[in-house]
Amino acid sequence: MLVLFVLAALAYVGAAFGSLLAVLGDDAKAPRWPLHALLVAAIFHLGAIGSQCLDGAHPFRSIQMTLSAVAWFVVVGYLGLVRGRRPLRELGAMLAPTALVAMAVGFVAHADVVPNPELSPMLVRAHVVFASLGVAGFVLAAGVAAVYLALEHRLRHKEVPRGMQGLSVRGLDQLHNRLVVAATPVFALAMAFGAVALTQAGGLEMLQTRALELVAGFVAFSANLTSLVGRAIIGLRGRKAAILTLLAFFATLLIIVSYGVRS
């Protein structure tokens, strides 16, 4: 079951990357592979739900598991909707990472149905690797967003900074957005793997002791997802997008500080 979860998570991340790149690339003819990746993710997701079901955990047994099942239905509905029509790339870009998080929530809801403890060290390592990559991406994105805000503020107040040659507000905005595109799915994957590994190690009680990290992680993920989806749908960019990125960065910082204090 855990293998199915991992495969589904990786496929969701691939689909998220592909969809986000297609959305931001403004290319009229987007590649089809993100849809294929989403289809593969949905198949593995169904396998994971089925496996949980065979272990005695009905898909609608709890709110969390229902969330996972609903996410699967939405993904399948989306795939059906886009078949032969406009690919609705913006929706796909939002759906893939959201379904990944929903699947992880459903998966860790019942510690008793998370077997394969021998895979736990592997999950922890994967969590650490993906979390490091995701946080690095967020830090870079936050740095660029901060420079953007500084440059934008100075230009708005009729100052031309002498020491910022070669930087432009449009360039900084695009760069920070691309970094968020790269970091968000990776961070979502790290969150999912971390939550499952924690559940394996100490059940839901263990998960509850990490409530602060979970909430902060969710805030960071939501802020970035809002920024990405907002840009795809209504063209959210500039100052507001930069502020959302900084919010995600501070939430990530809170997670790191919390880990530091605990260790």
């Binding site: 440059l151 230009l155 708005r156 009729k158 031309v160 002498r162 910022m164 040659q165 930087l167 432009s168 507000v169 449009r170 360039g171 905005d173 209504i234 063209g235 959210l236 960019r237 500039g238 100052r239 507001k240």
Partner: protein, 443 residues
């Protein structure tokens, strides 16, 4: 070095004089160079003619500033007395310094402006192709070009625009990175809008659209930039498509208000837009600048930035002068060494002749010398002379640097009965009065 820089510029002469002296490029320029060389008895000459200066740079041991000024006046058909009133004269080190400073744009009205370097390069090429460019002036100019390049790269003297349109283009670069492919919208058909459009087009703006109440003027402006004219009613639609907007209508009230810009930004999906409002009264409502993604600059903002940039350039001029001093010192060292060349050659030859003569005497007294032994003995003379003269010549070269100690050149001439270095004193001797020494002196 017998270097001269004479002429008129924006500091010494009014435009009425400068325009009478101005020389156009082409055959006339080459002809003037040939005549200058002949009339002024110079070996090398270059003529720089721009809207702010007409200057002659020359090198020769048989000329004088007075001859040069007379020659310039003659070829331009002006009375020498009239020219002398406004002519500056620089000689030797001052002339080199002047050439370096002009090339590096430190003597321009707008310090750091880039055009002068191109103009001097054109004048240099003209002299080169006319055959009036020689070793000294050529070296001076190439080192001046190097100095100008260093000034531009090692200081911030060229940073920031020095005019309203150039500042506007600079700002557009800060917002969009590059203007290649950008679309500009001109609202109104005023002269300032036209000037800004010229700069935008030069900076690479792909398309220019014009919206104006008067169709005839709007179409004329659009045609000038190969752009499109749109009726006044299409303003909002054009704002959605534009990256840079230049507003310069004569409207008594704002033509682009907050409500319009909010709608425009929604339609643009908040893509950034740069708006230059050069109209008085302003065409763009004040609050528009607060909309996310909109950057509005009015004429006062732009002028303020121009003033700041000009102040910044002046502050950088001192640093640039220090950079230039290194290049000038290098040129002067080269010219001093060049001037010493004939004397050193003479000194070395005398020593070689003595050594050769003495060795031949010795060889004549030794019987049965093999060819190999003869070659060995013959090589002894140059080897001893080189070793013997190494330190004296090093000291001699070093002594020519001003302030480095006693002048050994005169002592060596006296001791060994040598002639004076070629390029030193004739100019000083030819100068009738001391009133040619400093820049801006009346001639």
């Amino acid at each position: 070095v017998n270097l001269f820089a004479i002429g008129v510029n924006h500091k010494t002469a009014p435009v009425a004089i400068r325009e009478r002296l101005a020389v156009s490029t082409g055959p006339e320029h080459a002809e003037h160079l040939a005549r200058l060389r002949e009339l002024a008895c110079v070996d090398e000459v270059m003529l720089l003619s721009t809207c702010n200066r007409v200057e002659v740079y020359a090198c020769g041991s048989r000329t004088s500033p007075e001859i040069l000024v007379n020659a310039l006046a003659t070829i331009r058909g002006i009375a020498p007395e009239a020219l002398r009133e406004h002519c500056f004269v620089n000689q030797r080190e001052d002339a080199a310094r002047h050439i370096f400073r002009v090339t590096a744009s430190l003597e321009s009205i707008v310090v750091g402006e880039p055009q002068i370097l191109g103009q001097i390069k054109d004048a240099y090429q003209s002299a080169l192709s006319s055959g009036t460019m020689g070793a000294v002036l050529g070296r001076c100019l190439t080192m001046a070009f190097h100095g100008a390049k260093r000034v531009r790269t090692e200081t911030e003297i060229a940073r920031g625009g020095a005019s309203v349109p150039s500042v506007a283009v600079d700002l557009a670069g800060r917002i969009f990175g590059e203007l290649r492919g950008a679309k500009a919208l001109i609202v109104g058909a005023g002269d300032m809008a036209r000037q800004t459009a010229v700069h935008l087009k030069t900076a690479g703006v792909a398309k220019i659209a014009v919206v104006n109440r008067s169709e005839a003027r709007g179409r004329a402006l659009a045609a000038e930039f190969e752009g499109d004219y749109f009726e006044w009613g299409g303003l909002e639609k054009q704002l959605v498509n534009a990256d840079v907007v230049v507003a310069s209508t004569g409207s008594p009230e704002a033509v682009i208000d907050l409500a319009v810009m909010k709608r425009v930004m929604r339609a643009r999906r908040y893509a950034p837009i740069f708006m230059i409002d050069i109209a008085v009264p302003r065409d763009i409502e004040v609050g528009v600048n607060e909309v996310d993604g909109v950057f509005v600059y009015d004429v006062d903002d732009l002028r303020h930035l121009v003033d700041e940039n000009l102040e910044g350039r002046k502050a950088q001029a001192d640093i640039a002068s220090r950079v230039l001093d290194e290049e000038i010192s290098a040129f002067l060292a080269w010219s001093r060494e060049r001037a010493l060349g004939p004397m050193i050659k003479d000194l070395r030859q005398r020593h070689l002749d003595v050594a050769k003569s003495e060795i031949e005497k010795v060889m004549a007294r030794i019987p049965n010398l093999s060819e190999h032994d003869r070659r060995l003995l013959s090589g002894l003379g140059p080897a001893i002379v080189n070793k013997f003269l190494h330190r004296p010549l090093t000291q001699l070269r070093a002594s020519t640097v001003p302030g480095s100690g006693p002048d050994l050149v005169g002592a060596v001439q006296e001791l060994f009965g040598l002639q004076q270095p070629q390029c030193e004193d004739p100019v000083a001797a030819a100068t009738p009065e001391g009133n040619y020494e400093r820049e801006s002196c009346d001639v």
